[in-house]
């Protein structure tokens, strides 16, 4: 035996194994996984259908067509450029709806990965939101083509669109985290959410203008919905500079407080609940 082999053990540096977490395994791995999984999921959602991407546009377009007929032929809203506003709102709201809808059951659906690999749990709901975002990005191209065809002249405020999208994406992520973590404990969260999402859709002035609601308790409730203010501002920036800004819609800075507080609270709650639940998810499944 060589002298080398008999040398005393050279201790190597040991690192602590801390167990599962929301983001465990290094940030580069986290983002690579997030990107790869979102991209493959996105590709997968179109694969095997003849028209591929077209289908993701058909759904909001169908809804758009029905609502357009209802609200221009049957009930009339005195809103300039109502059709383009409706289309824009439906497509952007689709991000929230599809993102949260896919995320709520995502952790349960990925049971195999969660229970048998060391996998950053956060990637799972976030990739659902990413997929919804990819769809939105594609759809927005069509929407803006439609806006131009409709005769709306481009405005510099269009450059502020990313602000709107960021606000909605962050909220979608927060709600997705909250729902996907809770759904592991209580399986009926997913079912409740399908109803709640529909309620939220009508609880956000996207089909109808906020201005038709008289000052009342109902209007206060709508104003407490962060999405209301985001869509009001989007209306002002993207479709019609004459339309009320979020501030004007609310009436005062103080009136914007409830919505802002709910927005921030949702984000904090989502992150906190997910972080707290993440280490235990594998055991609860």
């Amino acid at each position: 035996m060589s002298a080398e082999a008999q040398a005393p053990a050279q201790p190597v540096e040991l690192r602590e194994v801390r167990g599962p977490s929301a983001t465990g395994g290094g940030s580069r791995r986290f983002f690579e996984l997030l990107w790869l999984i979102s991209a493959t999921e996105f590709k997968k959602s179109f694969h095997g259908t003849a028209f591929g991407y077209i289908w993701s546009l058909v759904r909001p377009l169908m809804l758009f067509g029905v609502l357009l007929v209802v609200f221009t032929r049957i009930i009339r809203f005195e809103v300039p450029n109502y059709p383009v506003l409706l289309l824009f709102n439906l497509v952007v709201f689709g991000l929230f709806q599809e993102g949260t809808g896919a995320a709520v059951g995502s952790v349960l659906a990925q049971e195999g990965i969660v229970r048998k690999t060391q996998f950053p749990r956060l990637v799972i709901p976030l990739s659902s939101v990413m997929v919804a975002f990819f769809t939105l990005a594609l759809n927005l191209i069509a929407v803006f083509a439609f806006i131009l065809i409709y005769g709306i002249t481009p405005m510099w405020t269009w450059l502020l669109l990313p602000v709107i999208l960021l606000l909605i994406v962050v909220l979608t992520c927060a709600v997705s985290l909250l729902l996907s973590a809770l759904n592991v404990r209580f399986r009926d969260v997913a079912i409740i959410w399908t109803v709640a999402a529909t309620v939220l859709m009508y609880g956000t002035p996207i089909i109808y203008p906020l201005s038709i609601i008289e000052p009342s308790f109902l209007r206060d409730v709508l104003l407490a919905n962060p999405l209301t203010l985001i869509f009001a501002q989007a209306h002002h920036w993207i479709i019609d500079p004459e339309a009320e800004t979020a501030l004007q819609a609310a009436g005062s800075w103080a009136a914007m407080l409830p919505a802002t507080a709910i927005y921030v609270l949702t984000c904090v709650l989502g992150v906190w609940v997910f972080k707290r639940e993440a280490p235990k998810i594998a055991e609860r499944l």
Binding site: M1, E4, A5, Q6, A7, P8, A9, Q10, P11, V12, E13, L14, R15, E16, V17, R18, G19, P20, G24, G25, G26, R28, R29, E32, L33, L36, I37, T40, K44, H47, G112, I113, R115, K116, T117, Q118, F119, R185, F186, R187, D188, V189, I192, P279, K280, A282, E283
Partner: protein, 419 residues
């Protein structure tokens, strides 16, 4: 089974010196328990309508488990179902968080504990290999560059762009095994994967395991298969009820495991019938013609099967029976202690030694020995049923059938009617 049966012992001496190697995995007092609700609450309504706190049963999966593994070791973890081995593996892999104690590790760990986890059936092999690589912590480019080696080992080059859902289960397992082997993880956690693929691929896997034994890689293998433990592992650990019950030489640990298994078998209900252990199997083993203990026998070689049983209580009119079961679950043969040799009764504390000589007509393969003890000279009055008191391998050239018989064949060519 992937165990190479043509050689009796390990290819290299077991005494590879690991004292000079650094410790790469260190577990100190690892404890983990699960709260199992007696009635699982998984809906809000139940949560609201259940006024009292739900009843929980505390399940101690791991109690104060400590061990050290040095670089390059092939370390076996054995134990019955529910002994905590899989939980331990999940704690090591950061899938579960330990309640107490600490685990420290050096080197990249493959984050899988089972083959093929994380495969997406809707994606092609190419995409899955990349995804798996990224899961292992590789960069995407690195992950892609491994594709060739992975497919070559799995012998699936032609199917690189086929979706995994169209793969056969054998192909899937080959791909999964190959992804694991070709990863550059320094520490591998493997949970029962030895029996994969067809015979040729099994041989390949066996070669890989042999290679790993002698490489720098640290491997933790969790298995029920004592043959594999003795064959591959440098060291092994026995877990029972979440506690470490043995550590050290794989052969020693394997024997302890078997002993433990049979002692507790009658009361466990998991794989036994009797409720009270009137008789327990102390030990069971094979001997060769010269009286030496043997783990395996060659095809056709005379087989001596021995067992030692111990009576815990008085048993009237006992009957003892054994059967050999082949890998397909077929009881190939059975034998008992001849009636005229059976005692009237066995008293508590008495030991029963059974030695048998069996004409070995068994086809090559792995066999499991089952043991029955009845009382009152009544076959239906079972005192002990142990489905697995010993397993052994018959090695040699395989031919058709579950057994072979000396056959004389005559062959003659006769001329036909000339036309």
């Amino acid at each position: 089974m992937a165990v190479d049966t043509t050689q009796d012992g390990p290819a290299t001496p077991r005494g590879r010196d690991f004292d000079a190697e650094p410790v790469v995995i260190e577990a100190r007092g690892v404890t983990k328990s699960f709260r199992l609700p007696v009635n699982k609450i998984s809906s809000l309504k139940e949560q609201i309508t259940t006024f009292s706190r739900p009843d929980y049963r505390q399940l101690h999966a791991l109690r104060d488990v400590s061990f050290e593994i040095r670089r390059g070791e092939f370390f076996g973890i054995v134990g019955r179902n529910g002994s905590g081995k899989s939980t331990l593996l999940k704690v090591l892999a950061s899938i579960y968080a330990a309640d107490a104690g600490r685990v420290r590790m050096a080197g990249r760990l493959a984050p899988f504990i089972e083959l093929g986890v994380g495969f997406n059936p809707e994606l092609t092999a190419r995409e899955n290999v990349e995804l798996n690589g990224v899961m292992m912590g590789l960069e995407r480019r690195q992950a892609r560059s491994r594709l060739g080696a992975v497919l070559e080992f799995a012998e699936l080059e032609e199917f690189v762009d086929m979706k995994l859902k169209n793969y056969s289960s054998g192909m899937l397992v080959r791909l999964a095994f190959s992804v694991m082997i070709q990863s550059d993880a320094e520490i591998l956690l493997i949970d029962e994967v030895l029996a994969v693929g067809d015979a040729a691929f099994q041989q390949k896997c066996a070669d890989v395991f042999h290679e790993m034994r002698d490489s720098e890689r640290t491997v933790i293998l969790v298995t029920h298969d004592m043959g594999a433990v003795e064959h591959y592992c440098h060291r092994a650990m026995l877990l029972h009820d979440g506690e470490v019950r043995g550590m050290g030489d794989p052969g020693e640990v394997a024997r302890k495991y078997l002993r433990l298994n049979f002692e507790s078998a009658p009361s466990s209900g998991e794989d036994s019938l009797g409720e009270v252990a009137d008789i327990v199997v102390g030990e069971a083993w094979l001997q060769d013609g010269a009286g030496r203990r043997a783990a395996n026998v060659e095809k056709g070689e005379e087989l001596h099967f021995c067992a030692e049983l111990e009576a815990k209580r008085d048993v009237e009119g006992p009957i003892f029976g054994f059967t050999f079961v082949n890998p397909d679950g077929v009881e190939v043969m059975g034998f008992g202690v001849p009636k005229e040799d059976l005692p009237e009764r066995v008293a508590a504390g008495e030991r029963i030694q059974i030695r048998s000589r069996v004409e070995n007509r068994l086809a090559p393969g792995r066999y499991v020995v089952r043991c029955w003890v009845h009382r009152n000279r009544n076959i239906s009055d079972i005192v002990l049923y142990s489905p697995h008191i010993l397993d052994f391998v018959v090695f040699g050239k395989d031919e058709a059938g579950v057994a072979f018989f000396e056959t004389e064949v005559e062959f003659e060519l006769k001329e036909g009617e000339a036309r």
